[in-house]
């Protein structure tokens, strides 16, 4: 796939983009809602190249760890700190999210309890199988890309009758978040780049309302530099022609109908509810919780744990505003001064998909010399 990074092809696409951008009545501002897109834009130095071509890129709520409210992170910490003989399994970056109770990494575990970093929910299930005398809780945060894997793991655990495994869910749906951003009207967006791998699960239809009801163009994109620029070009073409739709610019990896098997699994294990997001507040039907038949796998229920609804961010942290797209990380007073990766004050500076971390590590760009 290195052809999709070829600098000559990239230059050609940027040239097209610049031409079309000039035809538009307003300078285009395009929002992506996926931390991996944010990462790709910055790692490859595309953001300033696009700015030079007349296109402003903005990040939305694309980081599932970041939008998980402090209350849920604190519940995970409570589990480790207050229980005995419990293993809390989580993806690496989640263990460093700072809360008023510290982070999972700094929490003092209860007797015999510990944290285990895993790369897949199945690893957590394996841990439960191998240690029947320990309680294993998988702290799973994710969008629709990850949710089917978690659903499968839950179903497996239920089928095997494992009584020492449960899941602390932080499951978020992308289309309702888009709806909330558009309805809030805080930021004028001329187009959306839709997340390629979420779309591999949900397909193209759930984004249809953006074009139909709001007249805003969009394109589903992959993650190579070429993929992103193809999507930007498609969005600008739609805008210039006045024909907003949901373009499929990642046809090699996703189908328009998505993955029905994965969706059926999600649907079997989870049901949507009105969930509270960090920064965006409660969004209707935007989160997933266990259906009653699977309630035995819900860690809060099983472990008798209260999850504070939102919890509070650390003072001065503007992660919520970054997630809404109303400020860039650089717009937060604490960015790069008090809040740095070594001592983060919010999840946006911790998560691999957090805009603040990405801007800090990759966002200091320079213009190439003439």
């Amino acid at each position: 796939m290195k052809e999709l990074r070829n600098p000559k092809a990239i230059r050609k696409l940027l040239g097209d983009i610049e031409e079309i951008a000039r035809l538009l009545s307003r300078p285009p501002r395009i929002m992506e809602v996926c931390g991996t897109h944010t990462m790709a834009l910055f790692k490859h130095g595309l953001t300033p190249l696009l700015a030079d071509a007349g296109v402003e890129m903005v990040s939305g709520p694309g980081c599932p760890v970041c939008i998980t409210p402090a209350g849920i992170h604190e519940a995970a910490i409570d589990l480790v700190a207050e229980r005995e003989g419990l293993t809390l399994a989580a993806f690496g970056d989640m263990t460093r999210v700072p809360t008023r109770k510290g982070s999972l990494q700094t929490a003092i575990p209860g007797p015999g309890s510990r944290i285990k970093i895993v790369y897949s929910p199945e690893e957590a299930l394996d841990e439960a199988r191998r240690n029947p005398s320990r309680q294993v809780v998988f702290f799973g945060a994710g969008f629709e890309t990850t949710i089917p894997a978690i659903a499968f793991t839950a179903k497996r655990a239920a089928a095997e009758g494992l009584d020492n495994f449960s899941i602390l869910p932080a499951l978020w749906l992308v289309p309702p978040a888009l709806r909330a951003i558009l309805e809030a009207g805080e930021i004028a967006v001329s187009g959306f780049i839709y997340p390629g791998h979420v779309s591999a699960i949900i397909g193209a239809a759930p984004y249809g309302f953006v074009a139909r009801d709001h007249g805003i163009p969009g394109a589903i994109a992959g993650f190579e530099p070429g993929d992103i620029l193809l999507a930007v070009r498609s969005i600008l073409e739609q805008a210039a022609a006045g024909t907003p739709r949901v373009a499929l610019e990642y046809a090699r990896a996703m189908r328009a109908e998505g993955n029905p098997v994965a969706r059926a699994l999600m649907d079997e294990v989870f049901e949507p509810f009105d969930a509270a997001w960090r920064g965006l507040g409660t969004i209707p039907q935007s989160g997933l919780r266990f259906r009653e038949e699977y309630a035995g796998l819900d860690a809060p229920a099983k472990q008798g744990l209260t999850v504070a609804d939102a919890g509070r961010d650390l003072p001065g942290c503007r992660c919520g505003d970054v997630l809404r797209g109303i400020i860039r990380p650089e717009g937060c007073r604490l960015f790069g001064t008090k809040c740095v990766p070594d001592s983060p004050l919010g999840p946006c500076m911790v998560s691999y998909e957090g805009a603040c971390l990405i801007h800090f590590k990759y966002g200091r760009t320079r213009r190439p010399s003439p």
Partner: protein, 328 residues
């Protein structure tokens, strides 16, 4: 910092701050203040030390014993010194298998022989079960200076040579821990860099071996010492297939992954071609490449810039948080 965190040992900003805030004020003198890989002593001697805490003890391509010799050898070589005499100190955990210790000792002997160093003094301590993780090793090395690194002579146009692929050691150790459900044939690049010693007389101005914190950390330290920005070209950086794959699969950036047998060599453009040829002539330097240069066209003093494969330009940051614990 009230309590020592694991991240302090990572080789990144926390460690640099630790040295600046606690070590230099306590011990600072003209030799230590240089913060070279080895202390350059009056009379033409160089002196260095390193401790080895790697987990697991044995991994594809090496073990703690080989690391303990080669790591210290390399610190001397990149400081312009021929390694000669070593000390060897063990801290052993009660209950350690005698056969394991024998293997490590054999490995140390083999590495010392290959690096032509003699172990002339040492120490052994044993701690209670649970108070030390099997084996910790410290080696200190004395070498004879053949040249002095001259960062002050570095000018725009000087080239940056990387002696081979990045991250192989780091990945080999990670996979040896069995953590990722990932199987590959990557091997640690643990090796002595003696073949770089003659380059000091052929135009090399400055060298550093790439360990914890990876290439980015080494170049950042260079950028802090010279008044010119550094530009590196992403496309030119040699990477083995397993490290490339692991980077994509696990999200780890090879620019920050540790090596144990790779170095950066800075030389004027007029000498760089010849140095590259000499490095490539050695089996340990087959994949060497000129990956960038010191320049003053873009960026500001102290900056380390990366030209991405797609033609973008961004700053590289030094390593901030602990990537991987206990890899060296």
């Amino acid at each position: 910092m009230k309590k020592i965190s694991l991240e302090l040992g990572g080789g990144g900003r926390l460690m640099r701050d630790f040295i600046a805030d606690r070590i230099i004020p306590a011990f600072g003198n003209s030799i230590l203040d240089e913060l070279s890989d080895a202390g350059l002593l009056p009379g033409g001697l160089a002196f260095t030390t390193d401790s080895y805490v790697v987990d697991p003890l044995f991994f594809p391509g090496g073990d703690i014993g080989r690391l303990a010799v080669n790591g210290t050898v390399n610190d001397l070589v990149v400081s312009g010194a021929e390694p000669l005499y070593f000390s060897l100190a063990f801290i052993l955990e009660e209950g350690l298998d005698g056969g394991v210790l024998d293997r490590v000792i054999r490995s140390i002997r083999g590495a010392a022989k290959a690096a032509k160093v003699r172990i002339v003094t040492g120490d052994t301590k044993v701690v209670r079960r649970g108070q030390g993780d099997k084996i910790y090793i410290n080696t200190a090395g004395i070498g004879r200076s053949v040249a002095r690194p001259r960062a002050a002579k570095i000018r725009p146009g000087d080239k940056i040579i990387l002696t081979g692929t990045l991250g192989d050691h780091s990945l080999a150790v990670m996979l040896a821990r069995g953590e990722f459900g990932l199987v590959s044939n990557v091997r640690s690049d643990c090796a002595p860099l003696l073949f770089l010693l003659p380059l000091w007389k052929r135009g090399a101005l400055w060298m550093r071996d790439i360990t914890r914190g990876g290439l980015a950390t080494v170049l950042f330290e260079l950028a802090e010492r010279i008044p010119y920005p550094i530009l590196v070209e992403e496309e030119k950086i040699p990477l083995s297939r397993p490290v490339r794959a692991a980077g994509d699969l696990l999200g780890i950036d090879p620019l920050y992954m540790a090596c144990e047998g790779k170095a950066v060599v800075i030389a004027p453009a007029s000498r760089a071609g010849e140095l590259l040829r000499r490095i490539r002539a050695n089996p340990l330097g087959r994949k060497a490449a000129i990956i960038g240069e010191v320049q003053d066209r873009v960026g500001r003093s102290g900056e380390l810039l990366l030209q991405t494969a797609s033609g973008g330009l961004r700053l590289l940051e030094p390593l901030t948080s602990e990537l991987l614990p206990r890899i060296c």
